[in-house]
Symmetry: C2
Subunit: 373 residues, 2 copies
Amino acid sequence: MSTSNVRASYSPPERLLLGPGPSNAAPAVLQAMQRTLVGHLDPTFIGMMEEIKAMLRHVFQTENEMTFPVSATGSAGMEACFVNLLEPGDEVVIGVNGVFGTRMCDVAERCGATVTKVEAEWGTIIEPAAIAAALEGRKPKLVAVVHAETSTGALTPVEEISRLAHEAGALFLLDTVTSLGGCPVAIDDWQVDAVYSGTQKCLSCPPGLAPVSFSPRAMEVATSRKTKVQSWYLDVNFLASYWGSERVYHHTAPITMNYALHESLRLVLEEGLEARWARHQQAHETLKEGLARLGLSITSQEGHQLWQLNAVGVPDGADEAGVRGRLLNEFGIEVGPGLGPMKGKIWRVGLMGHNATEANVERFLDALGQCLT
Amino acid sequence: MSTSNVRASYSPPERLLLGPGPSNAAPAVLQAMQRTLVGHLDPTFIGMMEEIKAMLRHVFQTENEMTFPVSATGSAGMEACFVNLLEPGDEVVIGVNGVFGTRMCDVAERCGATVTKVEAEWGTIIEPAAIAAALEGRKPKLVAVVHAETSTGALTPVEEISRLAHEAGALFLLDTVTSLGGCPVAIDDWQVDAVYSGTQKCLSCPPGLAPVSFSPRAMEVATSRKTKVQSWYLDVNFLASYWGSERVYHHTAPITMNYALHESLRLVLEEGLEARWARHQQAHETLKEGLARLGLSITSQEGHQLWQLNAVGVPDGADEAGVRGRLLNEFGIEVGPGLGPMKGKIWRVGLMGHNATEANVERFLDALGQCLT
């Protein structure tokens, strides 16, 4: 046996997390995580699972029975939606205007699907007309878009795209990782068939679970497949029994993460969805005004800028990584870099969940101002 | 929008978790989970990731570079091992003597592999001779067995099976979900090529991560595949960059779960592996003696009984579920039921990690005695 590698306990520094996620968890959520463990089939835990499902339905604004958290992070939520609905040879149409649309294509191709990409410049939205054009002469099984592109800060309106998808006989799949809890998301009104999100953005819960919801139509597709779902772990045919009334053992749910999600959903509902959205909008507008005073602006498409994730253009001559490093090390504020074609050109400033306050915006603007002078 | 569904905070009852997992987390591990969040690419978090890798290598007793926690529960660790190593048409030989060997077959088949099962009666071990017979005239890519079968309480010795696998030119894959941290596990000495575990058993950390390790030979197979890994989320070609020195963004690691794993590994190393194993053995022997006084016995194969998971035979005339319910509701003690062919025939009594103490054994025996009179 090798010599001991025992380390000191980790003491994370205090950070104001204004990057693309995770955002800071609400204090009550962190407190919930130190509660004593119970078994995943304990009657009281099962009662709590039911409450999580009910509260998630409220936040997603859906009546879908199959609404639950996948026991992994948001990217596994994406994978759960695709692997359950696609079989080899299926056709899909995917909107690509950033990292997460690009990722969807990779995931769909790994399911053996044929992918038609509807590409838009990063920072802009996916236009319904572009989806309509892609659907000409095609009968895809699925149309998928990202609601809030975390890599660019653009919010794509999806009602019209959903209508087009259904007219073409396709299911409609939506990524709400960054939108859920920070701006309107209405799964039933928008007729979304499969949706996934993450806990670490506007729900202000640590990363580790991926809330998902499947419409009855999507469940019909998932339960009448010709082939088995390629992922055992993400197969909704099992998960329906584990999260359903049967409680058939599948995997062991991450107990503590579910405590945290329960508490974070509680806080979302206590505040109220409209009030929470309004708070995010207000924080965004305060940021935008303050940026203008510094001669800076948000680079994503005007009229479709996300409240909770702001792509701030790096001014000419500024050292993008240097400023980001100073913000972290001198001011304790984390912001994110640009990815792909946006690398070096933007800072990604998240104002998510618990963090979406005027006080945090002012603290950030003050720090950024000092870093730029 | 529907009317508010806001719920009260969840207050879990105090339970002594002596089932098949989760076991109770050490208090310091729960305390670590309420620490403030940092970003997953924060320099201090990256330093902590390195420490987790180093401590995991120590616990697995390996020098494998690719040793890290998969961002999901133990079952996803199983899936990560199979999806990275198998491609459609590959042949595998799998030992099946309980639920988890059975699950391995399902996961391997979902990778398009042809599975040869080496079956043994539940409660007994997989004999090397049976593996040798299955390898006659076959050239499988992979041989896989479960080290500690949580469903039956049998511990299969694996060194000889590993040797047979390598002589046949195959990789050797091992499930150590229940063994890691509770009895000897020596990945390099045993020449294991791919191994997975869970956090919620003998590591005394909440469920939510799956420690895995891949040998250089396994990584060579995973990185030179003809086809893409069918899971984007579990693809070690990405995870090697995320957990490696490049730190290329893949998914967002579950920050708080990693705090917990770091602290739990720290405690394992502080105690020392040999001392920890001896504590598990002692608790098992005390249990076995106490059961004999009650006229009860452990049903798994003599000489191969797990210390950390004890299959206690339900005596004639006893109400298996009724006793389990009384233990939970009157004594606050959770034990597990039998699964599959063991249903109604055994109670599964876990003495794992933090919980493997004489005091807990006495508390359990006293409660069980009262339930049986």
